[in-house]
Symmetry: C2
Subunit: 248 residues, 2 copies
């Protein structure tokens, strides 16, 4: 057990709009957008996409597209006209994308990545890579901010739950501490939810929105814990797969 004074911080920020209130003193930012951007990014790199270029605006994505890049764009849960796909994790599993670079813009997630990029290290979290990510974060043992993408600067349930899960695991290691009430609350929401994640998220407005869009299959994929051990990391503007360090 690490003494309290030597523990590192782990905190959860619920929305990009509050990021400026939190960001000081953090070395690592974990960006979360469970439904669906960060689940899709993780899935993509896991299934062989080599690099993802996250961009904030549809215009930027179009500019890349006109230069010959494969580009994906989602707004309000739907694929933007003129793009082959949006942020469905399944779309990124296409074998034709293996070894390729894909440009991506989404309603909330890529904006959060943009904000976070002012910190030294940015990684991507979702429920699919939860345990692998937490194991790595505990090994790093640095001040870690979990930035939930939310929904248009309001809090959303699934990102708060995922953030609460990461915080809970890091705090359980006794190598981290939390000072913020947002972190304590997220941990409690996760604990309320974890035994029945799917039914819990029926309460979620976001999920209701997505059900209307007929993407139940995506939602189920995104809400499944620990299916992959891939951790996407931002390097020079590209999201790439973090290479596992061999034990000596």
């Amino acid at each position: 057990m690490v003494p309290l004074s030597e523990r590192k911080l782990v905190e959860v920020c619920y929305t990009p709009g509050q990021y400026h209130l939190y960001k000081e003193n953090f070395d690592i930012v974990v960006v979360i957008d469970v439904l669906r951007a960060t689940s899709a990014i993780t899935s993509a790199l896991h299934h062989g996409v080599e690099k993802i270029i996250p961009v904030s605006s549809v215009e930027e994505a179009r500019a890349y597209q006109s230069q010959g890049y494969i580009a994906a764009a989602e707004r309000d849960g739907q694929v933007v006209e003129g793009f082959p796909f949006g942020n469905s994790p399944y779309a990124f599993m296409d074998p034709a994308l293996k070894g390729k670079t894909v440009v991506l813009t989404t309603t909330n997630g890529t904006k959060a990545i943009q904000y976070a990029s002012d910190r030294p290290t940015v990684v991507i979290g979702c429920l699919n890579n939860l345990d692998a990510l937490c194991k790595w974060l505990i090994e790093q043992h640095r001040n870690t901010l979990i930035l939930a993408s939310g929904w248009k600067d309001k809090v959303n349930l699934e990102d708060t739950i995922c953030g609460g899960a990461i915080a809970d695991i890091l705090l359980d290691s006794r190598k981290f501490r939390a000072d913020e009430d947002s972190t304590v609350a997220a941990k409690f929401i996760y604990r309320s939810a974890k035994e029945h994640l799917w039914s819990f998220l029926r309460s979620s407005s976001h999920r209701r929105r997505l059900v209307k869009l007929n993407i139940q299959k995506d939602v189920k994929y995104c809400l499944t814990l620990n299916t992959v051990d891939t951790i996407p990391i931002l390097e020079n503007g590209y999201l790439v797969k973090l290479q596992p360090v061999e034990a000596e």
Copy 2:
């Protein structure tokens, strides 16, 4: 049971900084600052203070003071120098204040009241007047936004719990519905907390801050449910006691 389409909205906004994202379509705003501004305001009017003038800045409070008003000011949990008291509920029980008008500025609560004053009706909520307030809100049956004061634009646990409690009671009446995930999450945090409110709030950074300031007695007062039936309401810039309407 009111059909879903005829139900009114009840939503919880966690911080004044997010108020602009929520405020449209609401007729009533309930401002909450459990530790301690809204508990103190409720206590004051309950114990005979006639009017409270909430002001955002210490300078405004000083200006009133120089005109002969009784003024109270709190910043960061402490009484501001030059003022006789801050936001301790006990200070407002002083019999010498009966029938008087008191000017009040606090770190978070009076700022939230200022923001909310652009809506038709602003009332004050806390754990002390929970049931009386909810009964009145259900009778009004109008779109109701619960604005938590938070701590310097970050979420805090005690206001989220109180907001979740109000939302839970209003939703239970089947006359209200909630669309926002912030409301669903607040409700779940309240339900996790309600059986052991005091120990739950030990997790709260805000409470830890207050313990350092030696105001355990205040904290205990503020965390006690349903001690009064007073509902403060904002009328022409003054917080006054809502007069009960006699049943016909």
